[in-house]
Symmetry: C2
Subunit: 416 residues, 2 copies
């Protein structure tokens, strides 16, 4: 019998009524002959409520104790879902992460899964039980409870699916898949039936926050077919042979055959850029600029350094907008004098727009079409950065929506 | 260094403000040079909230899954209290029952503790840490989470104190000790400084619901000095040599030397009595009457069978008032015809009043003084039952308060 892992988010688990609906969906799959492992999140708001209590006690709670309390929301969810399945006449059993066990390192609040022992779960499945396992958490070698960080239940589900060689991991959420771009910006954005792992990584990290990025990496590392779909609008159970709901993150080479050249338009509104002028063009200079920035725990996104002129060059990078002031301080305090650079300027009102698609590998002219489209709309391009499967540009924040809509149309991504 | 176990109830843990107050109290004891293990309950209302969710899903939830979710309230409490202690500059670490581990049998929702491994806790204490352990829960041999039943945190605290040979187990609650009777009934009821284990058992089971009865049994079995005191009104920390707060359940033979003959007046309002008339006086008849009652999960309290007359006797027993109708059904359905008894009558409006005290062992006349007092108030005694350290009478419910007040005065129990 094929094994399917279901993951349900906090909204799907948001009330006992909704938990009963989740149970109906899971039972339907079980009726159809699948073995099912379910990984639910905490009821929506619950983990925030508990962490709020911790913050009332101290501003920066001890990470070990934070994981001790933050892990309880999922424990309630698995028990309630198990009861809901039993009330439908199913045999069901719930496990906390430590009971499986799902072993992790000891990096509290952001632990990484090291191994999953599936013996107990396999025996339960063989006995006809539906197994419900807490997402988001595990246990370290010393028996301390750890959590995987916000959104970690996605990672738990994919990791369990991979460890147990499931046929598919279904991530049920409140959106029905991955779109060519954010439907709130472009009303005729189209749902993608499949997306490659690499494209999903670019789409996820660029702001299409459907799946936690780490779960996508996990899916990639283990080539685990993972599907994003909606627990609110999708039918209880598509026919086994034709799961057409949602968006499948696929690892089959040929799934992209009929795909358009471009998969989608991603964007990130909250960028800020900083430029250091007159940087001496010598080895180690990029590290001398970005080292102190990284030391200040600021993430750097785009980095541009152009050809030098007369031994001097200009160095530009972008950071999350919330870190703009801190980054500027770091540059002025520890970088400027040290490397003998000129002025430093910045702009906290810029956005990044990216064209993403594995198809662009074999198609010339994507970049020129992108730049022409933006030019026709009168949008100035401030920075350009490219990878194998995406082209990103930095533009004035106020043109972001216009740019996304124009590019979505130019590349023919709208629904038929 | 002497080890003291502190237990805090749900009211004491009811908000982050109150948790901070608990931390201050614990820190003060630690400052005074004690090693401290703390066993907190869930925040008040939390376990009821979670069990309420379960009941929304199904009327009779699976006990294993119920324990899975019901145990989370204490897990939040230990983490928050650990943080609160850390914010006071203390080293603190929290453990769930399974992490210690506190081993129990597999009787979900009413498990019994079988063993406690204190190695980890001892190492932490030796390292100067305050250790916080979840009450109410443990883990069975298969790694399933179990709970000890409502009020089980008292039992956890006493069991941990006994296993670790603590000097005392302090049960902090919202009352400041055990009284000669309920102060809501007799305004000048007096707090007892000490009470013997046997008296406490009688007082607790007769309705002075200060401590869970099982925790008193545990204290008795292990001769664990256990003190009931208030986290609301008692000073943060009495001097070590003269802990005079609260009521100490003592196992020293001489603690009762200066005690009055009678320790207190206990009572239970919600009794109901059933009498089977004309029962043939032959061996096995009591079992034939009470067996079916026990099979129906009805607890029987007082049992009276008087001397038979002409081979027939009358058999009377009391049950909790809520079970009166069920007990009457059982008697009529399966007992009456079977044993060839006569009529069955009952009264659901009776109360039990008891005079309790180890001192009565060596004093004659306690019974006659009790009966004279009730007689002077015109209160008719319906049933009498005695043990080594108590005399209980069953009376009309409407005279209960009057009887308690009169007896409390007659035995000189009022505060000076």
């Amino acid at each position: 019998m094929a094994l399917i892992v279901h993951k349900y988010g906090g909204t799907s688990m948001g009330s006992t009524e909704r938990i009963k609906n989740v149970a109906k969906r899971v039972a339907k799959w079980h009726d159809a002959g699948y073995q099912i492992v379910v990984v639910p999140s905490a009821m929506s708001g619950e983990t925030n409520r508990i962490i709020g209590l911790a913050k009332e006690i101290m501003a920066e709670p001890d990470p070990r104790e934070l994981d001790m309390i933050a892990s309880t929301g999922e424990q309630v969810s698995v028990g309630l879902l198990s009861m809901a399945l039993q009330s439908l006449g199913k045999k069901a059993v719930s496990y906390a992460g430590w009971q499986v066990p799902i072993k992790t390192d000891s990096a509290y609040t952001k632990a990484r899964i090291s191994s999953i022992d599936d013996a107990k779960v396999k025996a339960d499945l063989a006995a006809g039980k539906i197994v419900i396992i807490t997402g988001f958490q595990g246990v370290d070698d010393l028996g301390n409870i750890t959590t995987l960080g916000r959104g970690g239940s996605d990672t738990s589900a994919v990791a369990i699916a991979a460890a147990m060689k499931a046929q598919e991991c279904l991530i049920y959420t409140d959106v029905d898949g991955v779109y060519t771009t954010d439907p709130r910006v472009v009303s005729d954005a189209r749902r993608l039936n499949t997306i490659t792992f690499e494209e999903m990584l670019e789409m996820a990290s660029l702001g299409s926050k459907v799946l936690q990025i780490r779960s996508v990496e996990f899916a990639g590392n283990y080539r685990m077919p993972t599907r994003v779909l909606s627990s609110l609008t999708d039918p209880l159970m598509p026919l086994a042979e034709e799961i057409v709901s949602g968006t499948l993150i696929s690892f089959e080479e040929d799934t992209n055959m009929e795909q358009a050249t471009i998969t989608g338009i991603a964007f990130n509104r909250d960028e800020a850029k900083l430029t250091v002028f007159g940087v001496p063009d010598k080895p180690g200079i990029a590290y001398q600029i970005l080292g102190p920035v990284a030391d200040a725990n600021i993430e750097v996104d785009m980095i541009i350094q152009n050809q030098s002129v007369e031994g001097k060059t200009d160095f530009t990078f972008t950071v999350p907008r919330a870190d703009y002031n801190k980054a500027m301080e770091v540059l002025n305090a520890s970088v400027k004098a040290h490397i003998g650079a000129g002025n430093i300027i910045g702009d906290a009102k810029v956005s990044k727009v990216s064209v993403v698609g594995v198809g662009m590998r074999s198609h010339v002219g994507i970049a020129s079409q992108m730049f022409r489209t933006l030019s026709e709309e009168g949008i100035n391009i401030q920075m350009i950065s490219t990878s194998e499967i995406k082209i990103s540009v930095l533009i004035d924040e106020k043109y972001m929506e216009l740019a996304v809509r124009a590019l979505h149309k130019a590349f023919g991504l709208e629904s038929a």
